[in-house]
């Protein structure tokens, strides 16, 4: 049946192009910095391990940071794509419906209450769970408020804004009252990757991999869920359970990213839109794969910019994502109004 397979070459080349962009950003992220390395030096440095200066820079500074950027970017983008599909709302994202703020509140609370007593290795495992709990609570509160208040797309965003403000105030209160908390740093509030190590990255990194895979496996359910509640129910889907499962997965993804990258904005909002422009509509699995690839490449690109723009000074990466993300989102809104479709 020709018609159904006609686009397969295009689809494969889209994914390959995005994977190439991700690989390029990773290589650039490894070679660029205060000590610039050529591509052969980079590869050699990684192979040599910590026996050389270049190897130590790559293994202990750049590689964890590059991996953190790729994981965080992919997790936030996939989380945003899932939230937008489940809630059928193009304005929804971990940032706009309070998931990020909830994750930040959970992380701040965990850091303030356990930071001084628990060993740092235990904290690295506890932080993603605390962020997840905060993110999940926020998404449950926001979606139940908007359902009760009429379930419109604007109600959801407005209740997200209100809950985000409340949780951000809570996070600020904690960091003010507990100035020794690990999260007092400015870069957590804006989102940044300075000081990320393999130890702080990996519990969250594994969770991100597992949940991206889980969402991919359940792509068929996500496709049907995006048809709307009545159609999905008549096609045999348990809509309430599926919605909860997807929102919990996206809270886990965003929570894990926030636990080591801080409150990064806009990645989860704009990357799914870009992925949809590239991939078209109709397949959630394709959307998730492209969101993960583009999200990783985008956030790594932003991190390179944050390190290089005012070198040797470094900007929190969240500033760069906001400077790039906000105008791009406005551009999308204006284009949509003029009848642009993707």
């Amino acid at each position: 049946m020709k018609c159904f397979t006609r686009f397969s070459v295009n689809k494969a080349s889209q994914a390959a192009l995005c994977a190439f962009a991700l690989l390029l950003s990773v290589l650039l992220g490894l070679s660029l910095g205060s000590a610039r390395l050529s591509l052969p030096e980079t590869v050699l440095g990684i192979l040599e391990g910590d026996s050389t200066a270049n190897g130590r820079i790559l293994l202990y500074v750049r590689l964890p940071r590059v991996l953190a950027a790729v994981f965080a970017g992919s997790a936030l983008a996939v989380s945003g794509a899932v939230i937008q599909e489940v809630l059928a709302n193009p304005l929804a994202s971990p940032g706009t419906i309070g998931v990020n703020a909830g994750a930040g509140f959970g992380a701040a609370l965990c850091s303030a209450s356990l930071g001084s007593v628990a060993p740092s290795s235990a904290m690295h495992s506890l932080m993603p769970l605390a962020s997840f709990s905060g993110a999940l609570s926020a998404v449950i509160i926001v979606s139940s408020i908007s359902e009760r208040a009429g379930s419109s797309k604007i109600t959801l965003i407005l209740s997200g804004v209100a809950i985000s403000s409340l949780l951000s105030a809570g996070t600020n209160l904690i960091t003010t009252l507990f100035p020794d908390s690990l999260l007092r740093t400015h870069s957590f509030q804006i989102g940044g990757l300075s000081g990320v190590s393999f130890e702080s990255l990996f519990p969250a990194g594994w969770l991100i991999l597992i949940f991206i895979l889980a969402v991919l496996i359940m792509g068929g359910e996500l496709d049907v869920l995006s048809l709307g509640e009545v159609s999905a129910t008549s096609l045999g889907l348990n809509v309430k359970a599926c919605k909860f499962m997807f929102l919990a997965s996206s809270a886990m993804l965003a929570g894990s990213a926030v636990s080591f990258a801080g409150l990064v904005g806009f990645v989860g909002l704009i990357v799914p839109h870009v992925a949809r422009m590239v991939a078209g509509t109709g397949s959630s699995r394709r959307l998730i794969v492209l969101s993960a690839l583009i999200g990783g490449a985008f956030f790594e690109g932003c991190d390179i910019a944050s390190r290089m723009l005012f070198s040797p000074y470094e900007l929190p990466t969240g500033i760069v994502t906001a400077f790039l993300g906000a105008p791009f989102f406005l551009f999308l809104l204006i284009k949509r109004r003029r009848g642009y479709r993707y």
Binding site: G220, S231, S234, L235, G236, G280, G282
Partner: protein
């Protein structure tokens, strides 16, 4: 095939704390009827009389607050949702449509028949193609739902229900947005499904279509079932005139087919 026994339902038909009663919140009450295989049944009535609620109750989209809904003798609430979707399909009224290509939408009709990891097979593609061919939307398959007219969108949802391949098909106002030739197509499709020994249930505002193509007509008024009889019995009972407040004028075309015209009842 689907039997309702003194069934009542509503969208908020649950007990409100200790003082509330379920009765108050029912949209339809004490409905007893059965939709059989190899028959087209129509549900007619004024706006807000509970037609769509009756259809949703009978296909398991909402739960009965009292009474029983049985499919082949089995209580509908005891059947798993996926299994139920293999037995009953529902074309919703005025869908809030998703922005997906038509071929993707129609393929989703095969979703209840898929095992994990929910990947469509060649047989699913063939069934979806046949459904699109039958609904005359094959040429539009690559277009997104927001790029086509309301009528074409309606046909795409109809094709999705066809691709579900169920024994009972519920069509909630299937002719909405359709122009005259395509309204006639819908009637032909309903008759074709009847010939395939399926139970077809249409919620309809079009009294002519309901009376012409149905084997049984359910007349609803204010949440109550006024009658469930063959069209001729309903016509002769005078219940349509009483419920709708109209006079029915019967006429025949040159082929001898009976048609009905409705005019407002004169109040003098």
């Amino acid at each position: 095939m689907i039997k309702l026994v003194e069934a009542s339902a509503g969208y908020h038909a649950r007990r409100r704390f200790a003082s509330g009663s379920r009765e108050d919140e029912n949209i339809i009450s004490n409905i007893s009827l059965s939709f059989e295989r190899g028959a087209v049944s129509s549900i007619i009535g004024l706006n807000g009389s509970g037609k769509s609620t009756l259809a949703k109750l009978a296909c398991g989209l909402i739960a009965a607050s009292s009474g029983d809904v049985l499919i082949d003798g089995v209580e509908i609430s005891s059947i798993k949702r996926r299994k139920l979707a293999q037995m009953v399909s529902y074309l919703p009224q005025a869908q809030s449509y998703a922005n997906v290509p038509i071929e993707v939408l129609v393929m989703h009709g095969r979703f209840p028949h898929l095992g994990y990891p929910r990947v469509y097979r060649e047989i699913d593609r063939q069934i979806a193609k046949k459904a699109m061919d039958d609904m005359d939307i094959w040429e539009l398959r690559e277009k997104s739902l927001n790029e086509v007219s309301g009528g074409e969108r309606q046909k795409a949802y109809f094709a999705m229900a066809m691709a579900q391949c169920t024994d009972a098909v519920f069509l909630d106002e299937p002719a909405t947005f359709l122009d005259a030739p395509h309204q006639l197509d819908v009637i032909d499709h309903a008759k074709r499904l009847r010939a395939e020994n399926k139970a077809v249930v249409m919620v309809s505002h079009d009294l002519n279509a309901a009376l012409e193509c149905s084997d049984m007509v359910a007349l609803m008024n204010r949440g109550r079932l006024m009658a469930f009889s063959p069209p001729n019995d309903i016509l002769s009972s005078g219940l349509i005139e009483k419920t709708f407040g109209v006079e029915i004028v019967e006429f025949r075309n040159v082929c001898g087919d009976v048609h009905y015209a409705f005019k407002r009842r004169q109040l003098y």
